[in-house]
Amino acid sequence: MKKELIELRVNRRTHEIAIEPNMLLLDALRQTLGLTGSKRGCDDSSCGACTVLIDGTAMLSCTLLAASCQDQEITTIEGVSEHGSLAAIQKAYGDWGGAQCGYCTPGFIMTVKSLLADNPNPTETEIRAALSSNLCRCTGYSQMYEAIRAALDAERKGIAAVR
């Protein structure tokens, strides 16, 4: 298939890439841009390991055409770390055992980011509902709830300290 030039804006940087028009966003990120943090866990949008934010909304990059994401702000797991250090949610996932094998973790963190952007103080039920878009086979999810709570606490304290 003949390649076309498209412009993707990923993690606040613009990339001009030549892709076959049927290329999926996940493949463009992983293969063309070398951003391998987003994972392929299934082929049918059932596992959520490829979750990225498109204009702030959690989307599955394995079932999006890369070409359809032009002019949108794409955030991948590589864009989550803040100023070169771990974001509160990343630190908390490590501390509380929210990540074991780590393969689903980037997808979960993107989902959590999108949840917290919409709802900064979610109840446990809301957290469970939001995380249901992603699958994990290691943790049984329990330690993720603790991590999310801890991250919220840390951020709250961080904000309090600044004030």
Binding site: G41, C42, C47, Y103, C138, T139, Y141
Partner: protein, 891 residues
Amino acid sequence: MKSRALLDRAAEGGCPHVRLQMSDFSIIGKATAMVDAAEKTTGTGKYTDDLALPGMLVGKILHSPYPHARIKSIDTRRAERLDGVVAVAVGKDAPNPFGILPVGHDEHALALDKVRYVGDNVACVAAVSESIAEQALELIDVDYEVLPSYFDPEESMKAEADLIHENKPHNIEKDYHHVFGDPEKGFAEADQICEARFLANEVTHAAMEPHSTLASFELDPHTGNLGRLTVWSSTQVPYYLQHKLSLVLEMPMSQIRVIKPLVGGGFGGKSEVIPLEIIAAIAARKAKAPVKITYTREEVFWAHRGRPRTIIDLKTGVKNDGRITAVKARVVQDGGAYCSYGVVTILYSGALLGALYDIPNIQYDGYRVLTNKPACGAMRGHGTVNVRFAFESQLDELAQKIGMDPAEIRQRNLLQPPCITVNGLRVQSYGLPECIEKIVERSGWRERKGKLPQGHGLGIACSHYVSGAANSIIRSDMPHSTVNIKIDRDGGVVVYTGASEIGQGSDTMTAQVAAEALGCSLSRVRVVAADTDLTPIDIGSYSSRVTFMAGNATLRAATEVKKLIAAAAAKKMNCAPEEVIFRDDLVCKPGTHASEQAAPAQDPRGLDGRERPSPHGTENSATSVSGRVEGQILRGSLQQKRKEEGPKDAMTFEEAVVAAIDFHGALTGTGSYAPPQQARGGKHKGAGVGPSPAYSYSAQVAEVSVDEETGEVTVHKVWAAHDCGRALNPVAVEGQIIGSVWMGMGQALTEEMIWKDGMLMNPGLLEYRSPASVESPEIEPIIVESIDPEGPFGAKECSEGSLAATIPAIANAIYDAVGIRLHESPFTPERVLAALRAKKNSKPLNLTEGVDPTQPDRFREHGGALWFKGKGPRRHELDPARSEAPAGGAD
């Protein structure tokens, strides 16, 4: 920084000389983030599929569409002519057989003359892109002669002709018949006997990372031809992979390097050599270019190697005082088309009837049967899970018959360790009594059992598992784990271990054990793992062996290095080497350790208010590495300084290391571990499987509710107490307990491999129904520490033992809730409804073909229907599966 300050205070003599309490640990026992956590949470960590090499080709595998067929011919010419295709590999490119067990070398990387399941590997295309490789697959012409196939293990056992493997009569891979004690006498003494058939479902690992392998050859500078091979693979067993590659490719092991990048979960699915790992190397050799093959999710399901569907005919006798007098089990496992770990699985099923309770008489008849489905292999709780479901359910029935509380009947049958069970298993540390006490207390068992509203219930069950097999797959005197440690003048500790991190925390455990033994901070320790060129042999991450065996090897290696440092430090401090204390990045004389050892401030409560240690690691771990670089750079001035100072009471870790290197030369140490002879089991045929240097124990209470209208079972909470010897990293131990219980709940309620004519009906994560977060209950992990006499710091298994108890705990809770005793898992709404109707003597619903799941009698392929061989419902006349021949036979 902290250690420096302590040292200064010690030198000044200005602090109280607190006597070091050796029962305290500075690294282990504290919740610690995994050493690779940041790689995982930032997405920078590399898994196999994240790797790429210049000129790398994509490999795609052609799979068999038939469950059982002879290959008459394969023509790859049309595929090879397609632009972009570099090579097409077939069976005869590497015809040597292999298999994970020495007795089971029955697989070929690519089929030679026969395919034995839908999905069997036939050919592999290496091409410049995935889409071209996929197109090429369609251009490979294979001529098959379809053979009769076998899907039901009990039918398969009657086969006389068209055997799946010619050398396996009646399609029986292996059968074992064990008698320990006198079962007949035992049953004669029993006051109550229960006998029933249980059917347990086939489940698969479904690790989030699909299998992936990248293989690349180097050119040999001397011959100019392909030379050494490097393979990056998602494996739990790099050493076995190196061994099997050597066998199939006919290359010396020294010419093969296997590197395990991050692995996205295994659960046993990557604990043997999966054909794609060898196919990638064959294709790379033929294409003369690096080849990467990554399975699609559907291919992962076909590759399978999960827990086999199991038919268990179980008979147990008890006396009125609750004591078990005898157990008789006949177990038939639907093993799929190849041996895989099958011989071990069927042996574990029998052997692990022992070592949990004191059972004086055991009869076991196990049959591992071949069928035309993907091979089953090892899965978390290998061999024990399905039989444990049957046993613990039956024990509950017996408790009810003799009018005893289900928790109490378990307490009446405890072992009295140290002991050797009737089937030759040595039990030392035994935390089961405490596990039962803890869950009875935490769940409010005594107050709540039997008193919950209709439809709600509590169930109890126990389980156990090995901390590594005492006999390795390949019988030899080779140590099971070897670890090297190197410390250089910078004070950095590098641990080289073959143990495979697959997400369970292997690398973190290794770093913790080394840091604890050397008394240094965790951040000093770097773990280099699972690279056969760099790391000494470790047989892999399976049967929960890593903490016990690699942990012990690490401890021994660290102790060896520590002796060297102690000898040098003792000279500087005018004391005996064995008196020297290593702690908190200090090396000091006895009585001078300045540490005040106040436990670091913790935030001890989790979300639920239950106490847990802080996960934030040790306070001093991050600070002390950078402070003392002069030890390495300004050697001369440091020596001068030391001369001026004269003998001292304490040194920093770097100073001691520099002194030791000056004294001995390089600081290296090696430790290895082989299980002791006394732990290796009895002498009977098959005695090699089951023995372990230590067993973990688990007891669980599940609280469920059953909707009697819909048949839906909801698990509300599981209390799981697990005896892990000692929790080296509590946050990791809790994670393993929760993960095991959760996976057990999946098998109990929703997960099942559903087959129709040898075709998998649900090869996707949604259809397979791995539970999502809304379906997952609260799980309260309770750590019990029995301090094993041989484990590293007393530690033993924690990753598998809890799984098996969850299924019967839920089954028993369903009985408590609505009075139905389900003998067939998973406990789907259809089965619950059918059982409820059977209990009320109502007309059975035809959802499960009229079979009562409380008394199942026969194997059913698809959750209830006998589809195959004309026994199923009438098919459309154009349906190719309608005839007697298997689907697609008309081609």
